[in-house]
Amino acid sequence: MDHDATADVNAPHSMGTTIIGVTYNGGVILGADSRTSTGLYVANRASDKITQLTDNVYICRSGSAADSQIVSDYVRYFLHQHTIQLGQPATVKVAANLVRLLSYNNKNMLQTGIIVGGWDKYEGGKIYGVPLGGTIVEQPFAIGGSGSSYLYGFFDQAWKDGMTKDEAEQLVVKAVSLAIARDGASGGVVRTVTINSEGVTRNFYPGDQLPLWHDEVEAHNSLLDILNATNPEPMST
């Protein structure tokens, strides 16, 4: 594949992933796809892009896998020390700002967009977006990664304030699934992590159990099953 050395370096790099974080009345839900690609090859079809920082704060990683992993390792380390010194769980805001510090101060070297989500006793469920460059933005919901391009319109229409946990979970799964349908760099399974005052729950939605969208057809084990069905249909061109 030819690399055009005069490619527009000023345009933001699209990142292989779909990541989402939404708040609901009681906590947050983080969601992500599971595809890690190296060029056109899928290096890992079941990655876990939702990474734990503390008991109550998790992040969604997008962009360079290496960069996002090293940032999350550093922030986990700093948060651990901070928690010991503070004597109580770190707040989501502190975690998000630590991510921001690393992203901002190393902006020339890093290529990672991160969504920080969690629950603390002071502010409840909170979502912070830390895109390329190290801006920090608190939002009721956040989307990121290359797959997110296909979700701006969807969320503009489907997002409602004050959803229940189940409504929010369904929204996240639907959204990641829609993005996977159109974004080549997103795929695999949908993972979600729900964080609230009661704790953390992980969920797993395998790729073959996601809803079918436009122009997608039901999966079968074999053509032979179709042919041998009770009402065998003639083969059509």
């Binding site: 050395a5 005069t6 490619a7 370096v9 000023n10 345009a11 933001p12 921001r100 992203s103 901002y104 902006k107 020339n108 070297m109 977006g129 895109p131 390329l132 460059g133 190290g134 801006t135 920090i136 933005v137 939002q139 391009s149 701006y152």
Partner: protein
């Protein structure tokens, strides 16, 4: 004889902080004007990510100390860092506890030095800033760019505002504008920017600073006008036109 041409440095090691960076999340124009009682400033709440309007609730007008107001366009992460520098500046000023406080002129000068020194290191803060305020009855309005170009004037603007708003202000600005007249003037400029600036967003704030204090309005939107005959039938009388 070997002449080794260094192949296009566009994609050279990004660890090289010696070269200028590029912006990611950006805010568009800020407009500021002096009016009878002080300064009025307007900015929309958009944070663009390339051509995507990614964030629509970014506050780009902020208070600085007792007497000043800052508005920023350009890279939002750099603006957030500037706000931290200013916070420290005001903190240290307060710690003197001498009854004196930094006015807009001083803050403007501080910002100019910060921006210019970063520019000299080829590591700019990618912002254009508008700084306004009132101290001891004296109104002050100035701007600083990412390369340290700074000046003060009765009306300033950044980005697209330079091209679209300033001509309007040159014609219609007066020394004795009332608050209502000032707001209408700013809104006229902002509406124009909304029509013609691709990165403009229809949600904005207007801030007012006077000797008494500072207020930043709640976010609001402007009506736009599309109901013109020439818009409804643009190609009438010119068959094949568009």
């Amino acid at each position: 004889m070997v002449s080794s041409q260094n192949e296009s440095n566009l994609l050279s090691s990004e660890g090289d902080s010696q070269r200028t960076q590029y912006p990611y999340v950006t805010g568009t124009s800020v407009i500021g004007i002096k009016y009878k009682d002080g300064i009025l400033m307007a900015a929309d709440m958009g944070g663009s990510y390339g051509s995507t309007i990614r964030y629509k609730s970014v506050e780009r007008l902020k208070q600085v100390g007792k007497h000043s107001l800052i508005g920023a366009s350009g890279e939002i992460s750099d603006f957030q860092e500037i706000l931290r520098y200013l916070d420290e500046l005001i903190l240290h000023d307060n710690m003197w506890d001498d009854g004196n406080s930094l006015g807009p002129k001083e803050v403007h000068n501080y910002l100019t030095r910060v921006m210019y020194n970063r520019r000299n290191k080829f590591d700019p803060l990618w912002n254009s800033l508008v700084l306004g305020g009132v101290k001891n009855g004296q109104k002050y309005l100035g701007s600083v760019s990412m390369i340290g170009v700074h000046f003060e004037d009765d009306h300033v603007a950044t980005g697209f505002g330079n091209h679209l708003a300033r001509p309007i202000l040159r014609e219609e600005w007066r020394e004795d504008l009332t608050f209502e007249e000032g707001v209408k003037l700013l809104e006229k400029c902002m509406r124009n920017l909304l029509y013609r600036d691709r990165s403009a967003v229809n949600k904005m704030q207007i801030a007012k600073i006077t000797e008494e204090g500072l207020t930043i309005s709640e976010p609001y939107s402007l009506k736009t006008f599309w109901n013109f005959a020439a818009f409804k039938n643009p190609t009438v009388g010119a068959e094949g036109s568009w």
